[in-house]
Symmetry: D3
């Protein structure tokens, strides 16, 4: 269900140990005061709302970091839709470390599932079109690899990971080029083509049809239509006429995404997938044994 490579073990371990340190999981004074060292427990992660699950390998690493005798078994797959009450995973072992790591595991699982859930809503909204839902670089600092993984788990695709792996000429670049004596976007695209890495296509942000025409003349590979309404996108697509791929971006919501998709754009990138997705509510229900 999930496309693209899994999260590598050392990436998971790094963020998990950082988070456990941050939460002082090894110094859980409440559990230390109550739980007997030898007490055993079993817990079930349960969805408390409808959504799409992502982050189980991260939760597994979090639950077993303090005690490798704890078992963690998944009951659903990454990217699977669940409804309120669905059991997601089971954990069993010494009770104290289970309780000490619970919050960290949930923080990852809720955030990543929140992103997967919102992504899935966008993907479902455009399912009868050819549009692909993309993420952006508007991710949580330090968690980009995880959040992009969650987007894929929700059925989305990834835009460039970082500034190194994509040419995207934006308004500020266009202004700078104008200042440098290159006001025509076609000239700018050609200039970039000369010096940019030969492995990268050239995408350029346009805000009106005139810019689109110039960019096409220069041979842009992808036109990003920024903050255009559906009418504007249609007009731009008529000009482009298949000579470049088209990405729409800016102000995309669940209300307007289907209309945008029906214009025929190939890609719709949505910042809120990662910068504003609400967490999916998930809880850990524990039974002492």
């Amino acid at each position: 269900m999930l496309e693209g490579p899994p999260l590598p073990p050392h990436v998971i371990d790094d963020v998990v140990l950082t988070a456990l340190e941050e939460d002082a999981a090894h110094n859980d004074v409440t559990s230390a005061a109550i739980i007997e060292p030898g007490q055993w427990g079993r817990g079930t992660f349960v969805a408390k709302g409808d959504g799409v699950i992502a982050g189980l390998p991260v939760a597994a690493a979090a639950m077993t970091a303090l005690d490798d005798e704890i078992s963690f078994d998944t009951l659903v797959a990454e990217g699977q839709k669940v409804t309120d009450g669905t059991p997601i995973a089971e954990v069993e072992g010494r009770l104290a470390p289970i309780l000490s790591c619970e919050r960290v595991a949930l923080n990852f699982l809720q955030r990543l599932s929140g992103i997967a859930t919102l992504t899935r809503e966008f993907v479902d909204a455009v399912q009868d079109t050819n549009a692909v839902i993309l993420d952006t670089r508007k991710t949580t600092p330090g968690l980009r690899a995880l959040e992009r993984y969650a987007v894929r788990a929700g059925g989305g695709r990834n835009h460039r990971f970082a500034l190194a792996d994509g040419i995207l000429i934006k308004d500020n670049h266009i202004e700078a080029a104008k200042q440098n004596g290159t006001p025509h976007l076609g000239d700018l695209v050609r200039e970039v083509r000369r010096s940019a890495p030969h492995t990268l296509r050239i995408e350029i942000e346009c805000t009106d049809v005139e810019q689109v025409a110039q960019a096409l003349e220069g041979g842009a590979d992808v036109i990003l239509l920024d903050n255009m309404d559906v009418e504007g996108i249609r007009a731009a697509l008529r000009v482009i006429d298949g000579r470049a791929q088209v990405e729409a971006s800016g102000g995309v919501t669940l209300d307007n995404v289907e209309a945008i998709a029906r214009t025929g754009v190939e890609f719709i990138s949505v910042g809120r997938l990662t910068h504003s997705a609400p967490a999916l509510d998930i809880s850990l229900e524990v039974v002492p044994l």
Copy 2:
């Protein structure tokens, strides 16, 4: 306006460098292909919506990390309310590193301002009451110090930072104690008092009036009323009658927070301040010089 200590320099530097690495800011192929090495620019961070600003010291560190000759001047204070169009800060220097660091600076600023904004809405909603709005441990892994700072910038207060700095007996602990032969919450509170660090008060989660009565009998310092409706909270407060402080938690929204506050609880903790706050839209508008 902001209570509590500022973010320490090394904490800011750590997260900023991690984020710049993650975004390959030093390998910004687009700016490298367009911007002349000697080209200068000035940029203004501008709010694109109403909200509360938090994170300017982090943005400052991000904008100057690649080139310490770049100047960064704040135009508003941390915790200040702004409206759509308000200029927030100005940056000036070599244009290429300004553009290369823009996204990282914005990612921090938008997230932290989003948290401060949502916090302020909750704080404003209870302003005619004595209730204090608290955050929770439901924060983004790796960013807890920053997110708690943003909560304070929004006028909220911080709950315990980590498992080491607060006793909070939750349902899973109560179940474990029952299994161990301590079914009465008063006994449990006394037992915890004996072995917990003497610097910590004892807070215990109760879901009904019977539990509240037991906890009080054992001398609990704070009663956390979990997921109770306003009627239930009122009933509990009558039983408590000033013998413990009271925190309400669970399912708190902007719709019900004022009603909860009017019951007279001292504290209302709100997970969504950190786990589900939408980003505040902010942009950087650059003028090449």
Copy 3:
């Protein structure tokens, strides 16, 4: 025998690898020049004095870090009393890495056992009283988690771990408050109660009975009697009369600790447990096989 959670694996691994790097254990030129790669050996860690053992899991990690085929078996439990000559643990495997890691393992084991031993002496000295022996924040930079663990192995209890998990108003704070217009300790305690985290009790350092009376009037949870003699402590306890818990601190030695404990104070905190405990002498006796 040991109360509180065990040391988490990643905390042990971090300090152990740092120490092995520091000692260039992987570049042990002496062993490389003498020991055959295939030569096998068995070693016994033996106490060379009377004391209490702490740190075996750290020693185990150190002895097996370079070669995971080395076995490490403990012969005593953490926190167990041993006498001169008692075998503590056995190690067996390739001889070269055993010799290369010996010093690091011993450095941890001797220091932590030294702390546990001194703690046990204090605990034993007050065994017929109700006083609890506490550590302080006067620990070795970087090793606080391990040293507090050793205190618990010696039968002591832990004071606050860090500045975040306890309110302790000390003389310098009292001076600052006086300067700010709050000379009365009762007012100060009330002021702190208003703004400090609600999960924390308020402890305040007093040096005379007048300060004690003021602090009590403000509702202090714990009174720290700083550097008082037994007579002074008795006088303070009469004033306190059960209205707050009491911690005695400052200048506590094995000579005076019992007398202090007999006054009836709940807690006695002893800086020297961690800042001045002499190492317990332990050696590794190896037999080449």
Copy 4:
């Protein structure tokens, strides 16, 4: 007064930031509740006992890490003897970060000064002889560079830093060589000479005169006389007769060090300099401004 290079800035910064993180200095809830953000203060580090000061550059880094507007001025030099009441350094700036960093600065200063003080006592005890006091590898894990620096501040000299920078054939190596068919220490020294780095001298531990004679026959550069009494050392020195340098080690105390030195050994190594030195008592006395 101090021989050898100063501590490099990045080494100091590393340990200081680790220690401040460990102590949650940026989250000092007590100071946050009491000290006004704009309140200023001046503090004096004062010796509370007689001793030798070491670690001022580390204390300086600790006191200024959270706020680089804090000034730190030393009043004595590294390695200087002080008496009870001597002011050591002055700090001035915002009061809150001064109080938040106080404990970490003191923890370093007290430990390193404790080591320098004990070292100086040993050095003074042998001042009328030619013996040099050396440290050992029995240091606190993670702090070896600092502790060796403190030994030099106390007038001692450093033994090898790590296993890579000295050949020291100890009893366990001798046993292994015997097992491998090289029972004679002279043969062993020659064998080691053939394969060990040519930049290193060969030191070998001997416990009786017979071993000494064998080692000399093989051309050992340094003979370590382990745990011998003064009589035994004298006998060994007669055998050695200037053909090798001599280090005495094992069970060296302030009571016997002068007698050992008077035998004429060049070096006396003392593990307790670093593994058992009690901290020097130092306090920070603050005046709010």
Copy 5:
């Protein structure tokens, strides 16, 4: 002279501190035994052969890391050609840290200048053609950013930085696709186009004209001609006829690079620029002051 962004300060600092630690620059026992703490010196970095200089900012960071009062002044620019005897940079300050950091500074400077020098030789060899000399991912682990920077200083250009920023279908991928039922390279290119990031062009490795024809049919953006001789490259170019960009790779030497370039390929990638460039000999000549 150098195209592309400078090396960011934190990247330089990271590698420099790692290298100084590795060399124990703060524990330089030779300089400590000879150089007076107050002794001053001036040094000149001098080329001992003809070449192109790269890495001066790294050398500057290395020379000033232990003592920020040391001055470092460059006498040539990055990417400048020098001849045997050319002074490159001057350093002045305390003599001990200058000598302690010398080797690390030289190790960086010699390696990076070696890469720049070899790159310049390849660039000069093709100067009358349109071919661009590219590096590869065959770099020293941990130093890729620096080595690619050195390639640019030598007049070369950079291929993709990492696996994330370029699609390059190689022989092993082609074999795997064949196994999966996609034997035709045109089908493979189309398949990759569907799922690969839309910001990336598609480059594919071909070893004969038939593969080239298939790849073109699928719309490949760049054809990598692997290990073909000049005759083969000419034949392939006739087939390609401007429909794709062309990179030649494999077995490129200073002997054959001009002939390859004269075929008209746009790019020639040369692994030996980074995996086999000999160091440029540079020395530091010091005058004590």
Copy 6:
């Protein structure tokens, strides 16, 4: 075949994970677009030239870091000579991670084998003499431990690892001493002997017979003859006459090394072993299963 200790696991893991991060191995967009998640493959590392293999444990760690179900089996030993076409190791498992880690594994293996190969050529050239081939500190920053290991795999021996583990008085030190009033090398050697660590021998660089005579007079342990021709070395050896060990250094090549060795020097140190060894060509040939 390899002398000295193996590379410790944590050292290997550190450099391997750094390299995989650097290459974005977990974000291999090409393999992700082509290889089925369940597709399996087998690969053989094959030498593409004659040489000596070193670095197989590092390659093994690289190949299994993303997927621990991948098997890695060596077909030759570390330090073994191979010829063009020799299979070196086999890997089997999921195909995608095999291809994603290939480049990193090869980068280590080619570099380390290149060093071992060049070392072996020097060692073979002096095989009929008593001279030992040594490396220098002219290593790649960050990889010294690995590169010295490769030298040993090639039959060479290691000079001092770092500035802490060898006294080597070089021309710049001699100049400084002259400036300080110690122009005679014999006086300088005696002075260094007094203050240097007693575990270290004293090596001094001499450029003529007069310096050699002075150094011998002071008791130097090792004379480094710097950049002398064979005639000069012979003259120096006659003066030395067995009273010190002798190392020749500077300008040593495969052309002159045998002649230098035949003079009778004990050690010949060769910077180019590590700073200029060309990589050994090795490829991974994969068969999808």
